[in-house]
């Protein structure tokens, strides 16, 4: 039973980090980024490419089945993924913004983009699943009868560090404060002398960085698969909505809740329907309490 909870939390972390990127795009850029799952995929594949390039294998640190090579590759993946995302924004979304395109146009563009990215990955890396590393689900006794898989603990720790870093970024740094202003009212933010274009770039970078981490962790815990973005997008949206669209921490909470829900489904032998269960919860929230757990009622704008 405990293992299901831990699995739920581990998967939940990945969904949470991805959902944060989704939340930032939603609140600052004001559209639902259907390509967010593919940003996680890019992050994962970049890490893989770097590990292969480095040629030293994945390493290990004590009982954990990955070591500094993976961490280094994550760092580089963050940079590469951010650059890729900024390039895509510059070529596509910036043009749509200049034209004051409708929200739907942005979403359709994101759909098209996700299709392109998914298949570029297939083109370059082949359509088969690959193993980033060998996640060894061997539980180690911690105290008494309580056993835990060391990799799982590290994933949770990394996620916790990311969330804390995000929080301090948003509350203490100037850029973070500017982001919150733009999320609330972009025109008023401009009138306050805030360079909204710069804030938009930062938003993409933060989202891409967290997604790169999430994608790599997902690839480590499961495997690399060109379809991974598609598999993750619905749980991420569910997390966003359940946690509360307007609140970035809601996305984190939502991520863990969805992760636990899916683990619960697996424990009840319903793993084929995991996606549908997360989705059903999302629909219920949308109907009964559209602002989610931590969100606020939105103005329509």
């Amino acid at each position: 039973m405990i293992q299901y909870v831990v699995d739920g939390l581990v998967n939940g972390s990945i969904i949470a980090l991805g959902a944060v990127g989704l939340s930032i795009t939603y609140n600052v850029l004001r559209f639902a980024n259907f390509a967010q799952g593919e940003i996680l995929a890019i992050g994962a594949y970049m890490s893989m490419a770097l590990i292969v390039l480095m040629g030293v294998g994945i390493g290990s640190i004590g009982p954990v089945s990955f070591g500094w090579p993976l961490l280094v590759s994550i760092a580089f993946s963050i940079v590469l993924t951010s650059v890729t995302v900024l390039a895509v924004d510059w070529m596509l979304f910036r043009v749509l913004r200049r034209r004051s395109a409708s929200r739907i146009t942005f979403i359709i563009a994101a759909f098209g983009l996700s299709l392109i990215i998914r298949n570029v990955i297939t083109l370059v890396a082949g359509g088969d699943q690959m193993f980033l590393s060998f996640y060894i689900p061997k539980a180690i006794p911690v105290f008494g009868d309580f056993k835990v898989v060391p990799d799982d603990v590290v994933v949770l720790i990394i996620t916790a560090i990311c969330v804390v870093a995000l929080h301090s970024f948003l509350t203490s740094t100037t850029v973070g404060k500017k982001m919150r202003a733009v999320a609330e009212n972009p025109v008023l933010a401009m009138v306050n002398g805030i360079n909204v274009k710069s804030v938009i770039r930062w938003s993409w970078v933060i989202g891409a960085s967290l997604s790169a981490i999430a994608g790599t962790l997902h690839a480590h815990v499961t495997q690399l698969d060109p379809e991974m973005g598609f598999e993750l997008i619905l749980p991420m949206f569910a997390a966003l909505i359940v946690g509360g669209v307007t609140n970035v921490y809601g996305a984190v909470l939502g991520g863990f809740l969805i992760g636990l829900t899916e683990a619960f489904a697996v424990s009840m032998d319903l793993s084929a329907y995991r996606g549908a269960i997360a989705f059903s919860i999302m629909i219920v929230v949308l109907i009964l309490r559209p602002q989610g757990i931590m969100g606020e009622k939105e103005r329509d704008d």
């Binding site: 202003a181 609330e184 025109v187 008023l188 933010a189 401009m190 009138v191 306050n192 002398g193």
Partner: protein, 253 residues
């Protein structure tokens, strides 16, 4: 039609608008060929009927609306092609008519954001704003959305002052306020000018606004109709009939 005026505080030209054409869409200009000068230290009111282009004109000055032709020169620099945040950094401040505070953030948070483009002497400016608007100090931790109309207007003005502006553009400061509060706002505008800020305001309450202004400019259908000393405008019977109407608020027919 420009009539000679006097009683301007310093006479130095701060802002020069030349043949400005501006609007939200290229095929639909709202401001048509407007030229005007604004002098340091004055309070200038823009008047005219609804849809005359007054709000669009000040939005054009601060870059929120596209300048299609003509120029806007502020302190000798052409700002017509600059982005809004760059213009704000040059110490122009703008107070929109609606959505002029961050409703979900507290009063003090709003004021902080006002200073975010220019963090020098932040403490001093914050103190000055609280002196000018004591109510804001009282409610400094309340979220802006919960303030009354009058208090929100004060916050909107205070936020603009946090950037230590040289030129302040205000869009209908007295809109939606009860008469007592209206006069209070205009008095605050005078105090702001006393501290060395030049003010351009758009107003529908023509009579009350002109009574605290140095000059008035009348726009109609996107074009400049009159530039004149405020006192002369107030006393001109023809203007009074067209723009001030039967009641004291000066509604245009």
């Amino acid at each position: 039609m420009v009539v000679p005026y006097s009683d301007i505080s310093s006479g130095r030209e701060l802002l020069k608008v030349s043949n400005l054409v501006a609007g939200y869409r290229r095929d639909l200009p709202i401001v048509i060929d407007v030229s005007m000068e604004v002098y340091e230290g004055e309070i200038l009111t823009l008047l005219g009927p609804n849809g005359a282009g007054k709000s669009t004109l000040i939005k054009g000055i601060c870059g929120l609306v596209e300048v299609m032709s003509g120029t806007v020169v502020f302190r000798g620099v052409d700002i017509s092609d600059l982005e809004t945040h760059q213009i704000i950094e040059r110490r122009v401040a703008y107070v929109p008519q609606t959505q002029n505070v961050f409703a979900k953030l507290s009063v003090s948070h709003n004021l902080d954001l006002g200073a975010i483009s220019n963090l020098e002497a932040y403490e001093e400016r914050l103190e000055n704003v609280y002196i000018l608007f004591p109510d804001l100090w009282k409610f400094k931790d309340i979220s802006a959305g919960k303030l009354s109309g009058g208090q929100r207007q004060m916050l909107a003005l205070g936020r603009a002052l946090m950037a230590d502006p040289i030129l302040l553009l205000i869009d209908e400061p007295s809109a939606g306020l009860a008469p007592v509060l209206r006069n209070q706002v205009f008095q605050q505008v005078v105090e702001i000018r006393e501290s060395g800020v030049t003010v351009i305001m758009v107003e529908q309450n023509a009579r009350a606004a002109l009574s605290v202004s140095d000059r008035g400019i009348i726009l109609a259908n996107g074009r400049l109709r009159r530039v004149q000393n405020a006192k002369e405008l107030l006393e001109d019977p023809e203007i009074a009939e067209i723009y001030f109407g039967p009641g004291p608020t000066g509604r245009v027919s």
